[in-house]
Amino acid sequence: MDLTLKVWRQDNAKAKGRFENYQIKNISPDSSFLEMIDELNEQLIQEDKEPVAFDHDCREGICGMCSLFINGRAHGPDEEITTCQLHMRKFKDGDTIVIEPWRANGFPVIKDLMVDRQAFDKILQSGGFISANTGNAPDANAIPIGKDKAEESMDAAACIGCGACVATCKNSSAMLFVSSKVSQLALLPQGKHEAVRRAKAMVDKMDELGFGHCTNTGACEVECPKGISLDHISRLNREFLLANLKP
């Protein structure tokens, strides 16, 4: 496959960015999208140019490190996958592919296609955990958890923290991300004890970090590589309202 790539280049967080066009030839349709960028970079190195910086690590869709807005969609033109799982067979020979970094107030670009997602860590640090010191735990079977609850909790826990929800939301809202953690823990008996504090703290932190308000467009759910449901946002809203009703 021969392709034209229109790639966002930006030297550092402060610099002004621009799009650059690159031609790339003989890409195998079985290559992954990131392997295609590897080949572009090999080409750029040979031309004595600076390769394109992008985030990636596990390349199997679980670490959440890869990002990229590809042809107008977070993680590109396929459903329920991350960019590293996107394969070139989803494109056609001769295509022009526009590659942009995540765009959001909470995710500043630090170079080319790399963004800073520490805001997510900060939100989780504000309360996205169960306060259980090592060694505190009773026997794992001491508190049975219904299969349905455990499964629903797992559905929420599948979040990989990639930020596609924020990137795709027209308001750059982080509600799906926050709700996945709140919902996971709210569904478990172990997580109930600090549910009130957790929901408040995490929403406050999310607001403070400059993410937008959810207008329930549902785009996050569609573009989430793990298919995390909007229903968790409703649970977050419920938890948050309850948290504010309690004295």
Binding site: D11, N12, S28, D30, S31, E35, N41, E42, I45, Q46, D48, K49, E50, P51, D55, D57, C58, R59, E60, G61, I62, C63, G64, M65, E80, Q85, H87, K111, M114, R117, Q118, F120, D121, L124, Q125, G128, F129, I130, A132, T134, G135, N136, A137, P138, A140, N141, I143, P144, I145, G146, K147, A150, E151, S153, M154, A157, A158, G161, L188, Q190
Partner: protein
Amino acid sequence: MSTTLNSKIPAGKVAEKWTKYKAEQNLVNPANKRKLDIIVVGTGLGGAAAAASLGELGFKVKNFCYSDSPRRAHSIAAQGGINAAKNYQNDGDSIYRLFYDTVKGGDYRAREANVYRLAEVSNDIIDQCVSQGVPFARDYGGYLDNRSFGGALVSRTFYARGQTGQQLLLGAYGSLNRQIAAGNVTMHVRTEMMDLVIVDGKARGIVTRDLVSGELNTHFGHAVVLATGGYGNVYFLSTNAMGSNGSAAVKAYKKGAVMANPAFVQIHPTCIPVHGESQSKLTLMSESLRNDGRIWVPSEKEDAEKIRKGQLKPTDLPEEKRDYYLERRYPAFGNLVPRDVASRAAKERCDAGFGVGTGQAVYLDFKHAIERLGQSTIKARYGNLFQMYEKIVDENPYETPMMIYPAIHYTMGGTWVDYELQTSIPGLFSIGEANFSDHGANRLGASALMQGLADGYFVLPFTIQNYLADQIGVARMNPDEVLEFKKVKEDTKALIDKLFAIKGKRSVDSFHKELGLIMWDHVGMGRTAEGLKEGIVKIKKLREEFWKDVRIPGRDDMINPELEKACRLADFLELGELMAQDALHRNESCGGHFREEYKTPEGEALRDDENFMYVAAWEYQGTEKPAKLNKESLNYEAIEVKTRNYK
């Protein structure tokens, strides 16, 4: 410097050692804990668990990771599960049995006392994780579910769909986040450890590079913990994350920490086969698939050839023309033999011309399982794995058998540690995959997660205190004022400058791919003395070429992935040689280390317990000099050493 290895195994019966150790070791009092700094490099299961637990105890922890968040660590990719001796299934499991299976699975090359302790704390791990909100699979009664894994006759593996590693890591990451918020742990993301600093013979800190600004910084710690994972990426193609590297281990090795059994690498039998030259990494399909999937190749070469040419579909091949070779060769364990055995059997069939796909693949077939259990059950068990397979290969595994082939997955070898997980450098500890201690020559499935968390939550936080109890009188150092720190920082700067100055023609990846091929061909699944010697020559030559001809674009004061890769590759180029050297010296076949010269007439691994029942701990003598071999002999008191038999 000469190293004498003292493994510090407590006296007494194996089942009492850990209890006795805990009762007798020195502890640090709460008021002194906050005066002590601990550096933890890495945020995977071991690193995050250790940093969080040490923070909870009141130590001041500095935690480092090269990605943008601790949650990215590659522990997250573990799929299948985590072992524990809970015996919730009432199928006869016990701490002893888990211990026994692990030692046997490791082909009697692991340290008995460490493995017993691992089995002992395994149950605490499950309790801990459940209390953190890890949503393990449960049955309708609300109790925890288990699945079985290779190398065991019981169901002792706890799992959270195909994302167990993710859930365990997020649990540890949650605890870590709590300690970060509490101010006990300082997190440094996008920061890579460049070197280790030793002051008066003790590990006292590290030099790091800020991967965003390029700045080199020094950090002091009363102790340094390496939780940096394995070095499987020396093969370029592996199931490891792109950034996983062996640099921390190599830097420690060069500063005097001996490296144990570097040749022991695990080749995982169920990975998605290589598609072509641009391939950057391999994707693992969880071993749990072998619970229900059956592995086969055509029993006749002509059929295999037709399949390879696309003239025949696997679904068209009748039962009698299929060779379920694992079930045939190992009737007792069948498709659930340990990983090394399954991998070698696949290689044997493919080398003999029965491979499918590109010729380097075998089938993993769910037809019978779907008939027996229904598609919905299979979907519930492996849905995400099947989806992943389909996305990569573009074939529907519900309809046509999956293709799999072995790939580098895990390194059993690593930095040598004693019973306290301390390396041969005082004050330097190594946990999780980074150390060598628990898996011998082969790791059983679902045991990596167990070991990472055991070390991080329940072993290191105790054993490190035995060392730190002596260090309470040592005041915090200001690295800017200590000569040793300044020196190592200058060395690091010089190394970076040297790399930039080469201004050669070849990219880092081109060298890395070449190294990977050398390693796979010469230090891979089937090794020979001749091949290893040839490999060493090739690696040396490649290393020379690397230092003459590598091209690193850009500058060092900016985000520069090529520079990061070059620094890591420079270390892999030394580690690769050491691995080959270790493999060459070990004139036996055991676990993942298979020497073609040493096998039974049936082609099974042939151990030489008389001459090689020891840990080979290599001591650095200079890059161009062969490393010096130290031996820690292995004594099995609680286990009778047998030939592994999965028939």
